[in-house]
Amino acid sequence: MNRLLNRRFFGAALLGGTGALTVQVAIERMRTSGLLADRRKPRSRVAILSADSYAAGLETKIADGLRLFHFDLCGRTVLLKPNLVEFIPGTEVNTNPLLVGAAADAFLKLGAKTIIVAEGPGHQRDTYLVVAENGLEEQLSKRRMRFVDLNRDALVRVPLKTRFSGLDALWLPRTILAADFIVSIPKVKTHHWAGVTLSLKNMFGVVPGAAYGWPKNTLHWQGIGQSILDINAAVPIDFVIADGIIGMEGNGPLHGPPRHLGRIVLSDDSVAADFTCTRLMGLNPWRVPYLAEAAQFLGNGATERIEQLGETPPKTVRPFSVLPEFAYLAGKAI
């Protein structure tokens, strides 16, 4: 399996034009040097919650879902990291602000001391315009929550624990590094370069534009998949609340049509969350190169290592449409 995955990763890197041979050599070097130490839990937990809309009752639903995980958040600072890219009227680009608000209420109810919402939009430099137009500003002011623009936060140089991108360190926002508990709240979408964008890809938003440009261009050229792996190895996500109520299919992450999925996915393992979301999208997560590689050391992808706490996954799903280049993602979702 490993060799097969490496070949896929190699192929994707070649298509991305990022020096595939270098990447492959780097992966092998990481394996032999112990940089790819297995951080997977024996078992990860995922809860799939049905939610038809963003209407009232979302906070109770999320709080009930969170209780299944038996956290102790008393006195802790919880950082919510939604996916804000840019505001395009009529499209489902960003994490729905009502879900972010409901998640904040739920964490406070469970004893969290402070909630911070933080994001560094990858595309639009005017962060506050995105926050306002998307409707997040209303949720923030209603709860007097602080928003941190990660594109312009104070920075700390963090040596990388893996070397997929070829970089040995990243400048990362102090707010992210200081948070007690990081919650990735992605929008469930297809992605025209990465295949799918979920909780792991959402962490691209913690990389500061002030250091790497808009989009986070340096990392794009080091390889999107490779950078996703390095970022997530450096900044582990503590919890995931994936917005799959209305996702995006086709030409995501900006211009695809909305797709009603009617699900919220919670997990204490970002890889398990992304595998579950991809399966709900009717796509095969093992065929997304960065997910397949993440499941080798970061978290669990195999169903036998994922405990379902909420609803049972649906027996059949109507697959999300993908661009022709990603037709290979369809197929038996294992």
Partner: protein, 219 residues
């Protein structure tokens, strides 16, 4: 710009020598053959945010404004300066969104036209002031004049850009006044403006005696 500005020669030289990935023929070949989902002419390039990346609208526009201002100082080889400025202008014109204005970099991805951003459009049209005779620049100015925005950051950029066009169209003055009134209202509560650079930018935009982003046009 004054020729006595410390370090100016070295800084200008560094800007002239900075090359985005598109400057290399291998990358141009890649964009022309295998990586064709983004519509643009890779032979027209400007400047990236950081070394080792491709070019983008905002850094290109900022560099063009400075290079135009430095033209009369003769601190760097004039032929090379002209070549890079012309290439940079050509890059901006090539990346304009259908209908006017600029997004972050390209204008059409997977066949879908991207929407313009106020900040990128402001800087691009400031850098293209000497090309106002071109239909693309006029169209983009029209887009910017009509663009509604509620954010301090974008309004400040819009004001700074429009100032360079006061002498060419009658509708620039009223739009500028409207944007200024909006910005004045926002800066009345500086605590609401989360980042200091945006507040500083607003002060520059509201200072009628300064025009920090004006392009010096060749005589």
């Amino acid at each position: 710009l004054s020729p006595n500005t410390p370090g100016l020669r070295a800084a200008l030289k560094a800007l002239l020598e900075a090359r985005p990935k598109e400057a290399h023929w291998l990358w141009r070949l890649k964009f022309q053959t295998t990586d064709t989902h983004v519509r643009f002419d890779a032979s027209k390039y400007g400047w990236g945010w950081v070394p080792g990346s491709v070019n983008w609208v905002i850094p290109t526009a900022m560099v063009l404004i400075v290079l135009e201002r430095s033209r009369r100082l003769n601190l760097v080889p004039p032929n090379e300066l002209k070549r890079r400025v012309d290439l940079g202008h050509a890059m901006l014109l090539d990346r304009m969104c259908p209908g006017g204005g600029w997004n972050a970099g390209n204008s059409v991805v997977y066949g879908v036209p991207l929407t313009p951003h106020v900040d990128a459009t402001s800087l691009a049209i400031a850098a293209l002031r000497s090309h106002y005779h071109l239909a693309q620049v006029r169209q983009s100015l029209s887009w910017l004049l009509a663009a509604k925005c509620s954010s301090t950051y974008s309004l400040a950029w819009k004001i700074l850009a429009l100032r360079s066009y006061l002498d060419v169209r009658a509708d620039v003055g009223p739009a500028l006044k409207e944007a200024r009134d909006q910005l004045v209202a926002l800066v009345q509560e500086p605590a609401q403006i989360a980042d200091n650079s945006t507040l500083a930018l607003s002060i520059l935009a509201l200072d009628e005696n300064s025009d920090p982003f004006a392009v010096e046009r060749p005589a």
